[in-house]
């Protein structure tokens, strides 16, 4: 990283990884596409069957892999195709978010959301919002400083 940190902050484009459920948010993102809603290109979507399948390991590995922000989104409570996947996920996410905050990870970098298949517009604004928040925070230097071994 030869450029200086503040210079990095100017033309810094955050990398956001999104873990979404295929029944609601993935289809919602499709709807955002069919309705040609323009939103920030920084997000990379990974499809999963349900928020119930989204594991805390994925989030940690995403940050380890250099993501500056992570979005996790799925069906609204009650709409889950598997009836209760998002209820369990809600509790798990709440505790994980609290722990990450306690460990010093700014909670704007980890955003949870419910986006249904009919909310294409909400998906667009969600991505824009998270991208702007993370751009303001700058690259996630803290997590990038965690190297595999000391001398790396």
């Amino acid at each position: 990283m030869n450029n200086t940190t503040n210079n990095k902050k100017e033309n810094f484009e955050p990398r956001i990884i999104a873990f979404v459920c295929q029944w609601c948010t993935y289809t919602g993102a499709d709807l955002a596409g069919t309705s040609r809603i323009q939103y920030a290109p920084n997000v990379r979507i990974i499809k999963l069957p349900c928020t119930g399948r989204i594991d805390v390991h994925f989030i940690l590995k995403a940050f380890e892999q250099g993501a500056d922000g992570v979005i996790v989104s799925g069906c609204h409570p009650g709409d889950c195709h598997y009836t209760s996947g998002n209820y369990y996920a809600r509790r798990r996410f709440e505790m994980f978010k609290k722990m990450m905050g306690f460990l010093g990870i700014d909670d704007k970098r980890l955003q949870f959301a419910w986006v249904s298949a009919a909310e294409g517009r909400k998906w667009g604004t969600l991505v824009d919002e998270v991208t702007n928040n993370v751009r303001a925070l700058g690259p996630f230097e803290d997590y990038k400083s965690l190297k595999i071994f000391q001398a790396e």
Binding site: I148, F149, Q150, A151, E152
Partner: protein, 378 residues
């Protein structure tokens, strides 16, 4: 080899001289965390002393929580780096450890004896470059013990609180700490003395003015006898190897180690444990082959691919630890792999004490032999 002496007040200049002659200095420092006065457990570990200001942090005569083997056998180091080039070719290159002439100050005679054991081990049939290159670049200055801890038992393994085996230089605080006798043990030690000469006057010229008439060496031997006397643990480990020979299926070892939980603390703190695990880290396009410390206390250590584990129960792993250190190794190399530093005793969460295990084994063996003798002549 020659003996020198150094006044205690000149110790700091001694360190400054080391730093100024472009040598890396590693010495024991306290690592208590003080962020927002949040105190974590006070720990004394070997750390690099980068600048002159840090010299005052050095605790010269102390017992560290972790042994100094980390200087030669780091907890984790890359051995290979691989990168997938475009077009599918794979570029593999060895990772050369970045080495610098180093001075390790403050290890104990038991630690130093451990280095000599490791040096022999890492070069008995294959010369392990990682260890040997680091050992060659390092001058070990040990500090003799004047107040051993309750859990220390170096005399049981044929050592003494002031033995100089494995050290390049041995400092011994004499005249109740006023002065250090400096015994130079190896040429490497001699070379270090020359490079930082001037700080130390040769004892021969100073010897005559020593007030109570004994030469410092004589003074040290008296002190050594007194310290050996103070030690609480004196059981001799000499014939433990023969006792252990037929103890494999004996239930006593099982009951002694029943409470072991299988954490790897004892191996990690031990100056002679040398097992390591090789694992690839990184992703398909780029990564490292890492060499990390391992421990025979872990179940994973002997777990087969199919799931079978020859050492399935915890006591079998403990048995392996004792047998290896006190019997198998001695059978092949005539050395016991225990230097009596007592670190595993202090660190064990369930207080498994190698000394008391040997003590009990010997007592049981003695009783059995007595019974046999009674039966013979009855």
């Amino acid at each position: 080899m020659k003996n020198y002496q150094l006044a205690a007040k000149d110790l700091e200049t001694f360190f400054e001289r080391i730093l100024s002659s472009n040598l890396k200095l590693v010495a024991p420092v306290s690592t208590t965390q003080h962020i927002a006065n949040l105190k974590s457990k006070t720990q004394i570990l070997f750390k690099e002393i980068p600048t002159k200001e840090d010299i005052k942090k050095i605790i010269s005569d102390t017992y560290t929580d972790m042994s100094a083997k980390e200087v030669f056998f780091p907890q984790s180091e890359p051995v290979i780096e691989y990168t997938h080039k475009k077009g599918g070719a794979v570029d593999i290159k060895d990772v050369e450890p970045t080495l610098k002439e180093t001075v390790l100050f403050g290890s104990r005679p038991c630690d130093a004896f451990g280095f000599s054991l490791l040096e022999k081990l890492f070069s008995w049939d294959y010369d392990d470059p990682f260890f040997l290159k680091r050992r060659d670049k390092t001058t070990v200055i040990s500090m003799g013990c004047t107040s051993p801890l309750e859990s220390c038992f170096c005399t049981s393994v044929g050592l003494s609180p002031m033995s100089n085996i494995g050290s390049d230089i041995l400092f011994t605080p004499v005249d109740n700490g006023e002065r250090y006798l400096i015994e130079v043990v190896t040429p490497r030690g001699e070379k270090l003395i020359e490079t930082i000469n001037g700080a130390v006057t040769s004892t021969t010229t100073r010897q005559s003015i020593f007030t109570d008439g004994n030469t410092l060496v004589q003074n040290k031997n008296i002190l050594e006898g007194k310290v050996k006397e103070q030690m609480k643990r004196k059981e001799d480990f000499k014939d433990i190897s023969d006792i252990l020979k037929d103890k494999f299926d004996d239930s006593q070892l099982e009951s002694e180690t029943y409470r072991c939980l299988g954490c790897g603390v004892c191996s990690m703190v031990c100056p002679t444990c040398h097992c390591f695990d090789i694992v690839d880290e990184g992703e398909s396009s780029h990564g490292y082959r890492m060499k990390n410390w391992d421990s025979c206390s872990f179940a994973l250590f002997t777990k087969h691919g199919g799931g079978h584990n020859p050492r399935d129960l915890q006591f079998k792993r403990c048995r392996q630890r004792y047998m290896h250190k006190l019997h198998y190794y001695r059978e092949k190399f005539a050395d016991a792999l225990c230097v009596g530093c007592g670190r595993c005793v202090r660190a064990c969460p369930v207080n498994l004490d190698i000394y008391s295990v040997v003590y009990n084994l010997k007592k049981a063996y003695a009783n059995k032999k007595k019974d046999n003798k009674d039966n013979d002549n009855v």
